[in-house]
């Protein structure tokens, strides 16, 4: 020991001579600030390192050897080739927007497609669009994921094997040539086509074939409306409905705010008639007769729950009451009206008659007789020409259910030589789909344009996959003399080809192929000089001049009362099949966002179910989640099993089942959701999401009917739990937990009647909802909000609960999909949820429904901010409550202390394994890791983008420059975001409304989100009877 410690350590000769010991640790061992050599005289005198030759060689050898060894592993080759000529308008990191048209359903809403670095990442509504007027529904929003769907076919298939386009074209044209010559039977099966170019190309293609026929097929067909107009007006048209012009609206099972024809456009129009502050005098009155609880029924001022039979009777009764007023004949065979509220219908007739020319009656039935009566009512009310336009309607072929049935017969008889299928799936969607599947192969040549292998396309000899609509050119007839244009927003991802190109190529015999027309050329050819092309593509739509269509005058003799439908015998229930807002006819079955979007009414995800009334459930001893067997009366083979759901407000004699589930495509979600010990699968026992109810569709009077049949319901002994995002449904707290004398109603959703609101101009004070401005404040006033103070106002009167905002938010903010089990464990990740409550209406069995979108309320006195131990959530100087993901350690204290429970915790590492689907992620937003908290940020990325843009222009941020994803997509314009410090901003004006309130105002957290109370057009006492 002593030997070692006596040893002297020295660093330099100077130091050695000083005798100072400078090691083990010299004072300047870790010099923090680099110094200029020479500045320090002591350092300058440091001698150059003396290295002996052998040491140098050893060190050099070691260094050389180690570098060589470490270089043995091959470094990955990364190719980064810069643009030789940078493309114009593409700036890395900056989004560009292209106008296009949404083709997720037939409505044709206007789109602005957000492109980042050459890929589409978000679809937004086009505010200038004449039909959709700025909104975009959930289905439209989610359709961007279809582009990045790994189940898409990536190349043409010949007999199930990969082929080249040349090979496929050659083979097909050779066979078609032969058919042209011998006049073979050719059948082209498509959906209802509203694209003029596609219609033109199809006609041109079919021209060469003597025995060719074009068959259209849609599960959610509007054929009855078109056929009824053929009967009454000699015009097969789908009218334009102007809900904004109507002051009295009556819906008969037409879910026009949810799924019927063009819900985005209708919601925008309907919402215009529901402005309690701006225009209370023209606030519309809306009555809805329906057999199940729909989004539209939930918003009605009066919802009448009826069986399908009573629906027909009610229409007859209304028609005869109006006929009496108009003095025209309308013969109703005497039917039992005892079960109807005749007084109400008489009153409704009086209301409609008073507002004739300003009213609108719509019917969603597939029954031509019902649609004829609907036309008669509208005609009697002089609505044609005002609220209903049949002169400038969309050029839309109607799907004829008769045709597909005769096609099936032809196929079965083996008389079809060639069957060409567009992206349609009759095997899935028809009640006799299996017969169709069995018969397809009897056709000599089967060609499909399907973008994936479906139950139908797997029978095709050739599959020539079409582009996704965001990759191709197209057009759509919108009505009102407008045509919408669709442009590719990115290069096709796969070796696919537009159906337009394929058909045009096959239109000529193989020897005649001279030039290949692109889909762009084909679309341009259709319009020629009638539209200004560049402007039309820029805007996404164009006005065209067209002659108003003329039909004959109203043919009164076509009108007859709806024959009284069959009564529902005791022990049976009337069946109502319906499309759900997200899933529609099953076309979205591969889209996880739409599966996880809670149904606006039931709040259930990842399933369909048999909805029955509470009384029926009690009578049959069925509880929610019991699996029931539904058997269609005529044959026991037509039976499906699915879980039951007890649905408030449903008619006792009705069972309602959603279509579009049990789709083979949904089998892909087998592994969805985080993997862990107690995980339960997303799929049901059948290996699919939900059960296909298409079996229960009935073909009657030339069309496929969704309702009107009677079914037997039988309880099985199995259970299938339903994943619901909301457990407790009432705004009133349970009576058993009530302190006597206390108000049991929680005031988070406030509503009033139009009459009361017109008189008072403010809300009735509900106990605790009183304003608490005079309360003292224990919080330090450390946020002056000198610049902007962001806030939001949400109008509950126009909010329909359609959930477009929920999906829009999910896409914008990279919110993960978690699967059925996680939702059932109440761990859904949506940043924006729509709370749905029932409340008693004037009639006990017909509750009202209330929707309230809830996102982070960005409280000024945020309870979450004080409790975070690591300051992961902090208050911005513009009032935003900001979450710093990489600072969060995940104590969940903030979520516990949030009175609104809007914070979402990453319970697991949610999978982002699908590299293709990951292309839809928003690059502006972090994908969060497990163990951190997240929540609504008021789309802070959009605020910052607007700030940068404004700064570049040298202007202040204008009101309306910032539109969070939820506001952007809202078809009703219910959500308004803006600067509360600017007295002229739209949000500031809404805050001054007498309907404005803030949720849980009394606990003084000072939320920045406010709500405008729900106003229903009712007499004052009308909805208070339950308080008495």
């Amino acid at each position: 020991m002593s030997e070692v410690s006596s040893k002297k350590y020295w660093k330099s000769l100077t130091k050695r001579s000083d005798g100072s010991i400078s090691l083990p640790i010299a004072g300047d061992e870790f010099q923090s600030v680099p110094e200029t050599i020479g500045a320090d005289p002591e350092r300058a005198s440091v001698q150059p390192l003396e290295v002996r030759r052998r040491d140098f060689l050893a060190a050099a050898g070691f260094a050389f050897g180690s570098v060589t060894l470490s270089g043995c592993s091959r470094a990955p080759v990364e190719k980064a080739i810069p643009y030789l000529v940078a493309p114009e308008a593409i700036i890395p990191g900056r989004a560009t927007y292209y106008a296009s048209t949404c083709r997720a359903c037939k409505a044709g809403c206007g789109l602005l497609v957000k492109n980042r670095d050459g890929r589409a990442i978000k679809l937004e509504g086009n505010a200038e669009h004449p039909v959709s007027r700025g909104g975009l529904c959930a289905v439209g929003q989610a359709s961007v994921l279809g582009l990045y769907d790994s189940n898409r076919l990536q190349h043409p298939l010949q007999e199930g094997k990969q082929a080249t386009w040349d090979a496929v074209d050659g083979a097909i044209t050779r066979q078609l040539d032969a058919m042209r010559e011998n006049g073979a039977t050719l059948r082209l099966l498509t959906g209802a086509i509203s694209s003029p170019t596609k219609q033109r190309v199809i006609q041109e293609f079919l021209k060469g074939f003597a025995g060719a026929k074009h068959v259209t097929y849609e599960t959610l067909s509007t054929a009855a409306i078109q056929n009824a107009h053929e009967k009454t007006h000699s015009q097969s048209v789908l009218p334009n409905y102007a809900f904004e012009k109507a002051t009295v609206i009556v819906g008969f099972d037409a879910d026009f705010l949810g799924t019927w024809i063009s819900p985005v456009a209708f919601t925008a129009g309907w919402a215009k008639g529901r402005r309690a502050d701006i225009d209370p005098k023209s606030f519309s009155y809306h009555a809805q007769f329906e057999s199940r609880f729909s989004v539209t029924g939930g918003k009605a001022d009066r919802r009448v729950s009826v069986t399908p039979a009573q629906l027909a009777q009610s229409m007859n009764l209304l028609a005869s009451a109006l006929a009496k007023k108009a003095g025209v004949p309308f013969a109703v065979e005497s039917s039992d009206t005892a079960s109807l509220d005749t007084d109400f219908i008489e009153g409704l007739a009086a209301k409609l008659w008073h507002e004739r020319g300003r009213s609108l009656v719509v019917c969603g039935s597939q029954d031509i007789d019902a649609q004829v009566v609907c036309n008669f009512i509208n005609h009697t009310l002089e609505n044609y020409g005002t609220t209903i336009d049949i002169t400038h309607t969309a050029a839309r072929q109607h799907a004829n259910d008769e045709d597909i049935q005769s096609l099936l017969r032809e196929l079965q008889s083996g008389s079809v030589d060639a069957l060409i299928l567009d992206n349609v799936d009759p095997v899935y969607g028809l009640p006799n789909g299996q017969d169709f599947a069995a018969a397809i192969s009897k056709a000599g040549l089967v060609v499909s344009f399907a973008d994936r292998l479906t139950e139908t396309s797997e029978h095709a000899t050739y599959i020539c996959p079409d582009h996704h609509y965001l990759e191709s050119w197209g057009d759509v007839s919108l009505g009102h003399s407008f045509v919408g244009f669709q442009q590719p927003v990115m290069r096709p991802l796969f070796n696919t080809r537009s159906i337009l190109e394929s058909l045009s190529k096959w239109s000529h015999s193989s020897s005649a192929i001279v030039s290949k027309k692109s889909d762009q050329t084909l679309v341009r050819e259709t319009w020629g000089t009638s539209v200004e092309w560049n402007k039309a593509i820029h805007d996404g739509f164009a006005k065209i001049s067209e002659k108003p269509a003329t039909g004959s005058a109203f043919r009164a003799n076509a009108v007859k009362a709806i024959p009284t439908p069959q009564e529902t015998p005791g022990g049976k229930l009337a069946l109502v099949l319906y499309p759900k807002v997200a899933m529609l006819d099953g076309r979205n079955a591969s889209n996880p966002w739409l599966h996880e979007m809670p149904d606006p009414i039931t709040k259930i995800v990842w399933d369909n179910y048999a909805s029955i009334a509470e009384a029926t459930a009690t009578r049959l001893g069925i509880e929610t989640s019991d699996v029931v067997k539904i058997t269609l009366s005529e044959s026991s083979e037509k039976a499906i099993e699915l879980p039951a759901l007890v649905q408030p407000g449903q008619h006792e004699e009705v069972v309602a089942i959603a279509l579009g589930y049990g789709h083979p495509e949904s089998a892909r979600f087998e592994k969805l959701g985080p993997e862990w010990l107690e995980k339960k699968p997303t799929l049901g026992d059948n290996g699919l999401v939900g059960t296909n109810a298409a079996k229960l569709l009935t073909y009657r009077n030339g069309s496929l009917h969704l309702s009107g049949e009677n079914v037997a319901i039988e309880k099985t002994h199995r259970k299938h739990s339903l994943a619901c995002t909301q457990d407790y449904h009432n705004i009133e707290i349970p009576a058993a937990l009530l302190v006597p004398g206390m108000d049991q109603r929680r005031p988070m959703v406030q509503e009033t009647t139009l009459a009361a609101y017109e008189r008072d101009g403010k809300l009735p004070q509900h106990g605790h909802a009183a304003h608490h401005d005079d309360l003292g404040d224990l919080w330090p006033k450390d946020h002056p909000y000198e610049g902007h103070h962001w806030g939001m106002a949400i109008d509950l009167t126009s909010c329909t609960g359609c959930s477009a905002c929920v999906v829009s938010c999910q896409i914008e903010n990279n919110v993960p999909v978690v699967g059925r089990d996680e939702v059932e464990r109440k761990r859904i990740m949506h940043w924006l949820r729509i709370d749905r409550y029932y409340s008693d209406s004037e009639k006990e069995d017909q509750p009202d429904i209330l929707h309230q979108p809830v996102m982070c309320q960005h409280c000024d006195n945020a309870p979450c901010e004080t409790v975070c131990p690591v300051i992961a959530t902090a208050h911005g100087d513009e009032g935003l409550n900001m979450q710093t993901y990489n600072r969060c350690v995940g104590t969940r204290y903030c979520a516990n202390n949030c009175p609104y429970k809007v914070r979402r915790f990453n319970w697991f590492d949610y999978a982002h394994d699908d590299k293709l689907a990951n292309m839809a992620l928003n690059p502006d937003i972090t994908v969060r890791t497990r163990g951190v908290m997240e929540k609504c940020s008021f789309c802070v990325q959009r605020i910052e983008e607007a700030r940068i843009e404004a700064k570049k222009k040298g202007l202040p941020i204008a009101d309306g420059d910032i539109r969070p994803a939820c506001q952007q997509s809202c078809p009703a314009g219910s959500i308004v975001f803006g600067d509360m410090n600017d007295p002229e901003s739209a949000v500031s004006k809404l805050i001054k409304s007498g309907r404005h309130y803030r949720m849980l105002e009394e606990i003084n957290v000072k939320p920045s989100v406010g709500y405008l109370a729900l106003v229903r057009n009712r007499e004052e006492g009308e909805d208070k009877s339950h308080h008495g």
Binding site: A736, R825, V867, C888
Partner: protein, 452 residues
């Protein structure tokens, strides 16, 4: 320690022990080979611990999602267990420090074990704030120190930060107090043990104790000072733990009664756990002469007193809610008593309020089996008290749309079992390696040599 018990007192230690008998009695348990029952006990407890380790390992690898929590109920078993174990830890400090300052001689028989229990319980408690984090590997971000992350500082407004300080302070002081109190006994062990690692360890840990007058003087002074330091902690720790709830906005949490309520509850649960352990040790280690019915009786009286305080708190909460005129507050308590988790509430009430009432009777206090049963009930009841406060307040708060339920997963149950496994394993080790009764202190209260 100097006052002489008069003959009016019943002797604290029975059996006419001389100091040397005391030394032999207590040390012999450490010097002989472990009994079969000890081996069985440690096998069971370490299996429980192993199960808990597996559960925690799995949870940290996979995510908090392996617990039954959801968007509304963000804390359940984790923080329930945390508050439960912190509460258990309270009795040790109370017995050793507070009763020492109040010159309660009877404490000498139980203080060593009670303090050991405190330290072990706080160790068990400390695990939960760590593992309940979404990202436990970043736990050091809770500590205020100059860092390279900005530097980012902690949020001194957050009760969780104060929790961190309170628990770490409490653990440090309790450990030092326990260790200092043990030095004379360690010296005894050092002197008795044969050469070997235990003797070396005892020698090292006894800090060169030589039993001189000066040593004793210093020792007594330090012990008194530490007792004075530890006493405020009895109040502060659980007060701060209660802030986690009291400073929030959630009905059922947001109430000013929580600090005294939590302190009373902690002493109640801690005393009950001390009794549970002492009764087992008394029986299995044959310490009937040292832990007499008089000791048990005194502790039962504390149970009655603190149980009464807890009952008072339960009642006051309801009165406050009724008086508040806030429908949220009122609902929170109606929901506790009558809602979906009312079973938990009534388990809590019957275990914590009803079961100790039997201790009013002397016959019951002298029946060790009855006392043992009551303490088990209280242990269960006090766990449920924390569960009721945390889960029933959270699961139905302001907006009915958020109302959910909660049920634990096997992982959570295994973690709770594991924490008991850790507690019991460490306590069994303590019984093997450290004198369970403070010999030096007990010798001071012997009747031996006193005039009758």
């Amino acid at each position: 320690m100097a006052s002489i018990p008069t003959s009016i007192h019943t002797p604290l230690i029975l059996g006419e022990k001389t100091p040397s008998v005391v030394t032999t009695d207590i040390c012999s348990a450490l010097e002989r080979r472990p009994t079969l029952s000890w081996w069985i006990a440690i096998a069971i407890s370490s299996s429980m611990l192993l199960l808990g380790l597996i559960a925690v390992g799995y949870q940290i690898m996979t995510g908090i999602g392996t617990w039954g929590l959801n968007n509304t109920v963000g804390w359940a078993f984790d923080i329930t267990n945390f508050v439960f174990w912190v509460g258990i830890g309270h009795a040790g400090t109370l017995i050793s420090a507070v009763l020492f300052l109040f010159r309660q001689k009877w404490r000498t028989s139980v203080n060593r074990a009670a303090e050991a229990m405190t330290i072990i319980a706080v160790m068990c408690a400390g695990i939960f704030p760590l593992i309940h984090m979404g990202r436990p590997w970043l736990a050091h971000w809770m500590a205020p120190y100059p860092n390279t992350r900005g530097p980012l500082w902690i949020n001194f407004r957050s009760p969780l930060v104060w929790d961190f300080f309170a628990i770490s302070t409490y653990f440090t002081i309790s450990f030092v107090f326990w260790y200092v109190g043990m030095i004379p006994d360690l010296a005894t062990l050092r002197d008795r043990l044969k050469a070997g690692w235990r003797k070396t360890a005892a020698g090292f840990l006894s800090l060169g104790w030589n039993g001189s007058f000066r040593t004793w003087l210093h020792y007594e002074t330090v012990y008194l000072l530490l007792a004075g330091l530890a006493t405020p902690l009895v109040i502060s720790v659980h007060t701060i733990v209660s802030w986690d709830f009291a400073t929030s906005v959630i009905p059922g949490w947001h109430t000013t009664i929580l600090p005294p309520y939590f302190v009373a509850g902690a002493i109640f649960s801690g005393m009950s756990m001390v009794l549970t352990l002492m009764l087992i040790a008394r029986k299995t280690m044959h310490l009937e002469d040292y832990i007499t019915k008089q000791h048990v009786g005194a502790m039962c009286k504390i149970l009655i007193a603190t149980g009464g305080m807890v009952a008072m708190a339960y009642l006051t909460e309801f009165v406050t809610a009724l008086y508040s005129n806030s429908q949220y507050e009122q609902f929170a308590f109606m929901n506790r008593a009558l809602g979906p988790f009312s079973w938990a509430y009534w388990i809590m009430v019957s275990c914590n309020i009803l079961s100790p009432q039997i201790l009013w009777f002397k016959a019951a206090r002298s029946n060790m089996l009855v006392v043992f049963m009551v303490t088990i009930f209280i242990n269960i009841g006090m766990w449920f008290e924390r569960f009721v406060i945390i889960v029933t307040s959270l699961h139905r708060d302001y907006l009915p749309s958020n109302w959910t339920s909660y049920s634990p997963t096997w992982i959570e149950i295994a973690t709770l079992v594991g924490s008991f496994g850790l507690f019991l394993t460490l306590f069994l080790m303590f019984c093997r390696f450290i004198p369970v009764i403070a010999m030096a202190e007990v010798k001071g209260v012997l009747s031996h040599g006193r005039r009758k």
